[in-house]
Symmetry: C2
Subunit: 254 residues, 2 copies
């Protein structure tokens, strides 16, 4: 054996260490915007298409996560649940979906939108980021800066997600998203994008929680609105109260 398991974990860990060091400033900048929005009673939205939806969903209605974070749920694009599966990728190339979807959310100026796109080159994420900023939202992009330059933008402007954000978090995932090779395999394999992108999102939330908790400790603000696990005693009751207290800025429950 080639110890592909060891090589896979090494690649994931090295990648996490790299973004931990090189993206620290961007993570803090995003966390400052997120904490400020939560403190001011604003709403937070996350979006990604296909596999980029997975880190977007990872911070929504999440044990240990902030309560007022909502998924911008565009039918057919959330993960790989649509049939046929290639439709999710095809929808990313349709102009007008982003504007229509955002118009139907209650998002208003001052709210925060996370747009996650590994390549950052498709119509949907670029159009969404541009339109959201036009509407006065704060846009935080999570993307790989390895793609621009190597792969052309599919958006009419020629721009990428990175060009249309207030803060950009660079996942540094290589084009093709495969960390491993084997002479008997005809393509690279072993993708780490979900691990790294989820870590970036969770790190931003963790820092934002810390900022809000500092203010709470100093007595100048309420404790940060956090969910607990539904699998620990009292967790479900705690979460019901959180949803009730934040009813005007969560849109995934009645």
């Amino acid at each position: 054996m080639n110890d592909l398991v060891g090589r896979y974990f090494d690649a994931a860990i090295a990648h996490l260490q790299r973004v931990r060091e090189e993206e620290a400033d961007a993570i803090e900048a995003a966390a400052a915007l997120l904490a400020e929005a939560v403190a001011q009673g604003r709403r937070v939205f996350t979006f990604g298409a296909g596999h980029s939806s997975l880190p977007a969903q990872d911070v929504v209605y999440r044990a240990g996560g902030l309560v007022p974070v909502n998924l911008l749920n565009v039918p057919g694009m959330a993960g790989v649940t649509v049939m046929p599966a290639p439709l999710a990728s095809a929808l990313e190339r349709v102009s007008g979906l982003a504007t229509t979807s955002l118009d139907l959310t209650p998002a208003t100026a001052g709210d925060v939108l996370f747009v996650i796109s590994l390549s950052g080159r498709q119509v949907m994420p670029v159009e969404l980021a541009r339109y959201a900023r036009d509407r006065g939202l704060t846009v935080i992009g999570v993307t790989s800066l390895a793609y621009p330059g190597e792969v052309p933008s599919a958006h009419p402007s020629g721009t990428y997600l990175k060009d249309n954000c207030d803060v950009v978090l660079d996942s540094k995932i290589a084009v093709g998203d495969g960390e491993l090779t084997h002479p008997g395999a005809r393509t690279t394999f072993g993708p780490v994008s979900t691990i790294v992108t989820s870590a970036l999102m969770q790190a931003v939330v963790a820092s934002a929680v810390g900022r809000l908790a500092e203010a709470a400790e100093a007595g100048t603000a309420e404790a940060p609105p956090l969910f607990r696990s539904g699998n620990v005693p009292g967790g479900t009751e705690w979460n019901v109260r959180q949803m009730s207290d934040n009813a005007e800025r969560i849109f995934y429950t009645y």
Copy 2:
């Protein structure tokens, strides 16, 4: 600041190093079953409810992933896309959903089913694993062995997911799924379960690809069926051919 970002990355990396060492044998055992099933023309399914669906979707229709891997898609349970969001957790407690859902798939004896559940205690994952094994499927569970003992099973048998699998991968996530604390926050935060569980799933796939690639290199088998990124030149055409070549064992396209 308490450098919560650094602490979050440290926790994620330490956790990955721990499962890399302690779960190596279980990962190889799961990979051997997966590679054998793929080589024999069998089909592969993955399931998780709520946030446990994210690592399940991470290996389906995936650049750098195996082609014949299908999501067992139970409406309302795939991620956090259902409205109201607490419905996903509530559905996990409904007996009969697992058997009904599996009956409506084309899964047959000899196929492989991955069941992902962080706590491993809810009705749905336990019922699904038991019923799948009754039907002759090979069941690989991905769960945290920290929960049994600390939190009671909700399944009538009193068993957990871990008790109903051919191979168990232990994510070792602490009860509550929060790696961080702050005196100003009223609960733990900073969940690493998506990162660790995705890494376990991807490591199993990587090792299975390696096993298939060894056979291909030795001339005793075809090259492993892998998807490429749709964002690299020729990727989409490559993927169309893969789907055509494996049409009888993928169920997410026409």
